[in-house]
């Protein structure tokens, strides 16, 4: 006789003690995406049924027809594959802008976090800069640096570096002061502490900040490209906007979103892979 005992019912999906399985997790995660897709398809079909030439909510076939030539055929005027060319131009600007902001933020933040004199010298200014709405600087940057690459990169840089600097500063300050004493008693100097002890401990946190800053960086990139550019994802979106070409705009926006999502994922993997000791974030 097998005893039938009452197993306590633990919530499988929701509730504070819930433990969804991997499959359940993936399905739950996919649900909102699926909902969005269904809503769009239904709305699009309803509009197209009323007017087959409707441009506002194009069907997937229309989008494919509009995008495929940009993917596969060189542009008649420039000789480039527009889609890939736009992607490349935008990513390059983004990489240079965010990359230089990240490097400067690391260097400044580590120094202000470690040395009180540097804090006094740099922090008020960085705080001041961070209060400027970067988009308000856009005309100034374009007038002074020109409408070429430098102006756009500078906008991304100015838009992202104050926040990263302040965060690296805080992360460095948060290191226990015992670590400095330990470093010194183990025969190291102050610079050994900054670059050998503080830097590797601050890096994983800085990568998280970088992930958060990428959203802002995209905003500034698209804004700069919309105003003055000859190529780039933002440029294309605002170019075809004039023709109400939603069949190009929507795939472009989706593409930008996918790139952003991918970067976020890759940076998270990189952080996990390079800093297995990091305890700052246990979320998947």
């Amino acid at each position: 006789m097998t005893a039938s005992f009452n197993r306590p019912r633990i919530a499988r999906l929701f509730g504070v003690h819930a433990a969804p399985s991997t499959v359940q997790r993936v399905l739950l995660g996919a649900l909102p995406f699926l909902l969005l897709l269904i809503v769009y398809v239904l709305a699009s079909q309803a509009r197209l049924a009323e007017n087959p030439d409707d441009r506002l909510l194009p069907g997937f076939a229309q989008m494919w027809d509009a995008i495929w030539p940009m993917l596969s055929e060189p542009d008649a005027r420039t000789g480039h594959y527009s889609f890939w060319n736009d992607t490349q131009a935008s990513l390059l600007r983004l990489a240079i802008g965010v990359g230089s902001a990240f490097l400067l933020a690391m260097w400044l933040g580590l120094n202000t976090g470690s040395f009180a004199g540097m804090t006094a010298l740099v922090n008020p200014f960085v705080t001041f800069i961070s209060m400027i709405p970067p988009l308000a600087l856009l005309p100034i940057l374009f007038i002074s640096l020109g409408v070429d690459e430098l102006g756009k990169v500078a906008l991304i840089f100015i838009g992202t570096f104050p926040l990263m600097t302040r965060d690296v500063h805080l992360a460095t300050r948060a290191l226990p002061p015992e670590q400095l004493t330990k470093t010194l008693t183990l025969g190291g100097g102050e610079l050994a502490f900054v670059y050998r002890i503080a830097l590797p401990q601050v890096l994983p946190r800085a990568i998280d900040t970088l992930r958060l800053s990428l959203g802002a960086a995209w905003l500034f990139l698209i804004a700069a490209e919309a105003i003055a550019s000859t190529e780039g994802l933002g440029y294309r979106i605002f170019l075809v906007r004039r023709y109400l070409a939603m069949d190009v705009i929507i795939p472009y926006v989706a593409w930008i979103t996918c790139i952003g999502f991918l970067f976020d994922y890759l940076l998270r993997r990189l952080r996990r892979w390079c800093f297995p000791w990091y305890q700052g974030d246990n979320a998947p």
């Binding site: 183990l186 025969g187 190291g188 100097g189 050994a192 297995p276 000791w277």
Partner: protein, 306 residues
Amino acid sequence: MMSTQSKLHIEDVYKRYGSRLVLDNIDLTVAAGELCTLVGPSGCGKSTLLRLVLGQEFADHGQVLIDGATVQHPDSQRGIVYQKYSLFPHLTVLDNVRLGLRLDRQHWWLPWRHDKSADDEALAMLEQLRLTDARHKYPHELSGGMQQRVAIAQALVTKPPILLMDEPFGALDPDTREQMQIYLMELHEKQQLTIFFVTHDLEEACYIGTRLLVLSQYYTDDRGDAPEIGRGAKIVADYDLEVHALPTTVKGSQAYRDFVGQLRDNGFNPGIRKHVREFNLQHPHSFRTLTMQEDGQHGVGLLNSP
């Protein structure tokens, strides 16, 4: 094994924070090979004294000497083990231990050299502290006791003349704590280390020390004045426990517990702040103490030899 034996000498040290006197005329010498424990109630200035010894802060008067040289700033003349944060979380056990052999004041930017002899030294240290199996783990993967063992290995690998310990076992559970205490005593015996061990736990201080210093703000002064709040702390008692010759079992004996009990009954329990205390200790070992008597008639303020 350790040939770099040395001692700590604190001479006539006063320290104020603003108008508040924290340390009042501290005079003490830690001889080579001693495991000197400093006990005192929390807030009495133990940490301040330790910061002076490390060179993080400076005395308003008097001086701190290590190996006969004045302390300038924290350097490799002192090893330090804290209650926590002694280990670097981003380094494995092995890297934590060999850090002291790799750090270089001048050439900090160079990549770590592959130094076979340094690696062997670090591995030998790990072997000695029975940590070899854990060498590729990160600190957060270790138990509290293991972490403190790694911290001791890390501090000892550079062979500092004196090892400072700031309540190193304060965060451990009682069993682990006892293990670590025995372990430290054995290490001290075997390697003839000089250790300055700061704690607020009287029992621990008596148990592991070869010498016991008591730091307190509560004592009667030369004129027999009752102590006031905000007076600077003095070394009020200095016991030569002479136990480095005794096996650890003796430390667990009834006689020892009696001694601790006596100290406690006489108001040395740092948890109980008696304003005026009378000491009348009977102890098999020699000890010196700053006599404190309620009537203040006796010459006080001096260290009386037994």
